[in-house]
Amino acid sequence: MSSSSALPALSLHGIDKSFGAVRALEGIDLEVHRGEVVALVGDNAAGKSTLAKVIAGVLTPDAGIIESDGVPVTIPSPAAAHALGIATVFQDLALCDNLDVVSNLYLGRELHRGPRLDEAAMEENARRILRDLTSRIPSVRTLVSDLSGGQRQSVAIARTLLGDPRIVVLDEPTASLSVSQTAEVLTHIERLRDLGHAVILISHNMTDVRAVADRIEVLRHGRNNGSFSGPGTSYEEIIAAITGAMTTPRRSVRLG
């Protein structure tokens, strides 16, 4: 749980990505350390989700270097991202409503015991992970369709934790949630940080971002437009950087 450990868990340098004539990302730099929550903020079409997809292996960048624990890597596919210990929760969560919590957590990677599924072990693990997240799901055999928005979000986060990832990317996890569900998700994010994961949080909500982020990276028109220390920055400075009212020199505000 350090923001000062030597090598970043993941670092991106000079990432470019174009879709035809649209330059979605231009020379993006991003670093995240273990035990650190980095928030990625910006207007619509600032490139936040594109960057998340690059990290998740959904999109391949046109140029740039990605380093994992200081080692240069490529992330050509989601499976490669998984192998690097990068887990991503996208906005739509991708849960199966007709399955229960355990089946959703282990979908596609069920535990086996001989020829049969090892239901007991899966249930046990599911309970433990949800408890680590201080989640409030009464039974791991509840159907996902019966869960609230916040509970679904916590199942989606729990699923990413099964592979014991180093880096968790959350794309708009609090959009369209009620206040108590938002409270639950933000508490999960704090827990992830305390458990030593590196977290990249993409969000529009400045209150949520400032509540949990150690560092806030602003994107504007696909470029870095400021890097702020989470606790030491006011709403106004961040909003100014998002809207372009103020251009901050790169990495100027990074402390320590």
Binding site: M1, S2, S3, S4, G35, R136, P138, S139, R141, T142, L143, S145, D146, S178, V179, S180, T182, A183, E184, L186, T187, I189, E190, D194, M206, T207, V209, R210, A211, V212, D214, S229, P231, G232, S234, Y235, L255, G256
Partner: protein
């Protein structure tokens, strides 16, 4: 049931691993014994029976605003917390967003335990600043940025349509520890709250002593360094400028980088010498200020709480030593310095306790038809004596 608030019988069966028939029988027995309530509801379109713990008298809500988190709890007259939710908050969180979220959380929690809004009687609030309990306003400017000019109690009371009583968090934690926690056996105690800021709550003869406008026990703003930096409150060299979270984190910045207070606590517990040292030295400085307060009022017990108290004896040890060193030795009953028993729950339990205290009066009035909303507020204008004052009017 306590953990989840309310559950349907089917969920209860899943959570306990018992068969639905067994659960149904147990629920029936408990309902007859008056321990639980049931009401019909629907779950995924099917009819179901929602089971909640019984509460004949209604609920009270406790809201605690910290520097970096918000905690909301619902409690009943049995002093049990029936539901609670915590939420991280930004540094210098905005008052409008904060109060809005707190109000919505109260409503969400009521829904979670299957209670209607009518069952909510009174709301108690804890703020990390000295509060004038009669107006529900913060009585020292600058401590919570942006909160100064607001009648916090009135705004909340308007939003929830219930009486709201507001008090300082250390005072409320002191109340909770005196009623239910580490100081329950004694009449005179002090609660020292060591968190992002530092404060103390004073209990004299079983009642919280708030002073005329709520600044009693504000040891965080006692001067410890005449040449120190200017404090948020406007004075110079206050204890908080030396042991507040900003000061502690600044001490660690060159060696440990940017940390949060939670990092400092977890690392101190994990044995990091630098973090332990910073916490221990803070305990020592605070102990000196507490000794001064203790020599003025001679408490039997000093309870140490707040986030930093999660480090246990790392904080409490040096604090205890400093108190003993600077306090006149009392041979008959030397002061005891102990860790909080209620831990991180102390403040919100105090808020619930204050809400209950204020409701006692309001419920007498409720016998008369047409309950005027602000009665609880009016009764709370008699600080510390709400229970004895009888119904106003």
């Amino acid at each position: 049931m306590k953990r989840y608030g309310g559950l349907t019988q089917v969920e209860l069966a899943e959570a306990t691993g018992l068969s639905t028939a067994t659960v149904s029988t147990i629920v029936k027995e408990l309902t007859q014994a008056g321990v639980v309530d049931t009401r019909p509801t629907s779950r995924s379109g099917r009819r179901a029976l929602k089971v909640t713990l019984a509460r004949q008298l209604g609920l009270v809500a406790g809201i605690q605003f910290g520097h970096r988190h918000l905690k909301v709890a619902l409690g009943d007259f049995g002093r049990t917390i029936v539901a609670e939710q915590q939420m991280p908050l930004p540094v210098d969180h905005r008052v409008d967003t904060g109060l809005d979220r707190a109000a919505l959380l109260v409503m969400d929690l009521l829904e979670r335990v299957g209670a209607s809004t009518d069952e909510l009687l009174t709301v108690g609030m804890a703020l990390p600043a000295p509060v004038d309990i009669s107006t529900g306003m913060i009585s020292v400017r600058g401590i919570m940025r942006g909160w100064d000019d607001l009648h916090v109690g009135q705004v909340m009371s308007k939003r929830l349509a219930r009486p709201v009583v507001v008090d300082n968090d250390a005072n409320l934690a002191a109340l909770a520890e005196a009623e239910l926690g580490a100081a329950r056996a004694v009449r005179d105690s002090v609660f020292v709250r060591v968190s992002y800021g530092t404060g103390a709550g004073v209990v004299i003869n079983g009642n919280v002593h708030r002073g005329y406008a709520g600044t009693a026990g504000e040891i965080g703003h006692v001067q410890v360094d005449p040449a120190g930096p200017i404090c948020r409150c406007g004075n110079r060299g206050c204890l908080e400028t030396v042991v507040g979270s900003d000061a502690l984190l600044a001490l660690l910045r060159s060696s440990h980088g940017d940390l949060t207070l939670r990092d400092v606590i977890s690392r101190a517990l994990a044995g990091d010498p630098g973090c332990s040292r910073v916490v221990a030295d803070a305990g020592d400085r605070i102990g000196i200020a507490v000794a001064t307060l203790a020599s003025a009022m001679n408490p039997q017990v000093i309870v140490v709480g707040g986030e930093l108290a999660e480090t246990g004896e790392i904080l409490a040890g040096p604090l205890r030593d400093a108190v003993r060193r600077h306090l006149v030795p009392n041979t008959i009953a030397p002061v005891e310095v102990v860790l909080s028993e209620l831990g991180p729950q102390a403040e919100v339990m105090g808020a619930l306790a204050l809400a209950l205290q204020s409701t006692d009066v309001a419920s007498d009035v409720r016998l008369a038809p047409g309950t005027p909303g602000p009665v609880g507020l009016a009764s709370a204008q008699d600080p510390g004596g709400a229970g004895r004052s009888g119904a106003p009017g």
